[in-house]
Amino acid sequence: MSAVEERFGPYGGRYVPETLIAALDELTAAWVEARSDEAFMARMDLLRRDFIGRPTPLYLAERLSERAGRRVYLKREDLNHTGAHKINNAVGQALLAERMGKRRVIAETGAGQHGVATATACALLGLECVVYMGTEDIRRQAPNVERMRLLGAEVAPVEAGARTLKEAVSAAIRDWVANVASTHYVIGSAVGPAPFPALVRDLQRVIGEEARDQALKAEGELPARVIACVGGGSNAIGIFSPFVDDEAVELIGVEAAGEGLDTPRHGASLGAGVTGVLHGSLSSIIADEEGQILEAHSVSAGLDYPGSGPEHAHLRDTGRARYESVTDEQALAAFAELARLEGIIPALESSHAIAWLLENGGGESFDVLCLSGRGDKDMAEVVERTGG
């Protein structure tokens, strides 16, 4: 098992108020202990199998392959319970919260997927759950708000700033600062102060472990490329991680170019960002010359975040992974294309990875692409944008 890294090259760290340091130490110690506790890991494995529905299939998408001009396997994280990879992290962290004796759980959510996943895990374990959500996102994602409430969570509206994900994370961190003794913060991506980026990676690594075994079984060799969308970057780091040492496998993260990298309206913090501190870690972020964090933009709420996990910034700098981006328009086209080609409605986040593949097809070898979630949640947004 890898270490619980505090730093990835120069990135990562703990840029948080002193009040939280003891809790971060406690969380690190709890994870180190829990992951070598057979009973704990057996319970996690059981929940992964019988509650989440793992392993998820690695599906040879034949009509998509034909269209792309090369074989493409989709890692079907959309088939997880609650419809996305987020549940892998939420169940793992809720189990840790229970183990630490913290009966109150908080989370942030943008589109609502992580909020729903956390509310689900808390219902499963009987934990109190409060989900911070910007009021603009509450407006855009009404069905997920209702789901969270049905699952027994309190949805706490956040009025600050653009009333979206960045402000929801800030509000959750402030709640944690005030209630740290009784509360665990289930952060939704591989971001935040250490140990979160490593912890979330460890909990999402199951995606890549399964995919690597499944690819070897199906093809007798490793894929040429592993492709995943990157907002905060948890599905990407989860699928990349077991392939990092396979040097021949290209790792490609696809960010949101929004309305274009030549406009201020994008979410490409790795491709067009600066080194900076956001939400507790040093990484690649979107900020102005004064150091003020800027609002990101993407048609996909899950990629609408002005930062990325510190491990991605390091993988970028070392050249081990490369980060591309596609626009809102390309993602929307890919969304419709996959629906018609494969009978799979992908999340708008995952549609970014599909869009990049469609532009970069051809060749003899094969790819694994992480289909991080299902797109039902995005129907209203897509209809509004494209007229259906």
């Binding site: 760290g13 840029y15 002193e18 003891a22 402030r174 507790g280 150091g291």
Partner: protein, 272 residues
């Protein structure tokens, strides 16, 4: 502020010392640079210097202030909307730094964005600042920044929280410059009806470990609370209450009057 022989840390400690000689805790009001607008913040800084501030904690507005509660967060947002930048904070600093030591409250990303620790320290010291509090730069992340600040004569003031384990608290105290900032309560900045009973113990323990003065902030919103804390600590920091007073006033003159009245009352309470 050109005399390079007097460091920021020395000026800070001298200000605490002078208050101590009067038999009271030092009073350190907080203000947000550029809030509600540039002129009002210059007026507030002058009013602080005129009305008994021993030191001034000067907030640099930041988009995502994780250590701050709703009052100061809203003030930062409003200051940024009104066009405030680091330059605004430096201007406010220059306007009072010869009268009262100024300690910046600045988030880590702004230090990074302005050329990194050494360059930021150079700019801040040139504006007369004596020190800086970086609330998201805890022990473990602060070493290089502390060295760079010290080299420029700027004190990096660390924070101690109620959740800080004792051995870590001792480490923080051992490397503190200027003073140690004790966070009174578990939470973000903002007025509280009551201060925790454990505060006396925390302050006493910190004072025993620190060679520099110990000041308490977060949650102090009335002259009586200031007096209560002043009996325990070397200094008292009042933030959100004064930011609220500036927010509620109409125009620079009224903002100055409002904060001056509160400070004068607090000075009387501290002396009592």
């Amino acid at each position: 502020m050109a005399e390079a022989t007097v460091t920021g840390a020395e000026r800070i400690e001298a200000a605490f010392g002078a208050a101590g000689e009067e038999g009271r805790a030092a009073l350190m009001p907080y203000m947000m640079a550029g809030f509600p607008d540039r002129d009002s913040s210059l007026a507030v800084a002058a009013a602080y210097a005129d009305s008994g501030a021993d030191l001034i904690e000067l907030g640099v507005p930041f988009s995502d202030p994780l250590a701050d509660g709703p009052t100061i967060h809203a003030a930062a947002t409003a200051a940024l909307e009104a066009g405030a930048t680091l330059a605004t904070a430096l201007e406010v600093c220059r306007s009072v730094a010869e009268r009262v030591p100024v300690v910046f409250m600045v988030y880590a990303n702004m230090v990074l964005a302005h050329g990194g620790a050494a360059e930021f320290a150079r700019i801040a010291a040139a504006a007369g600042a004596a020190g800086a509090i970086v609330p998201d730069l805890p022990l473990g992340e602060a070493e290089d920044v502390r060295e760079a600040f010290t080299a420029a004569g700027l004190a990096l003031v660390p924070l101690v929280a109620p959740t800080t384990p004792a051995p870590r608290r001792a480490e923080i105290c051992a490397v503190a410059k200027g003073f140690v900032y004790v966070v009174s309560t578990v939470g973000t900045t903002g007025e509280r009806r009551e201060l925790p009973a454990e505060l006396a113990e925390l302050v006493a323990a910190t004072k025993a470990e620190a060679e520099v003065p110990v000041a308490v902030g977060f949650g102090i919103g009335t002259p009586d609370q200031a007096a209560e804390v002043g009996r325990l600590a070397d200094g008292v920091i009042v933030g959100s209450r004064l930011v609220r007073a500036a927010a509620e006033a109409e125009g620079p003159g009224a903002a100055a009057d409002a904060v001056a009245e509160f400070l004068s009352e607090t000075r009387v309470a501290l002396a009592g």
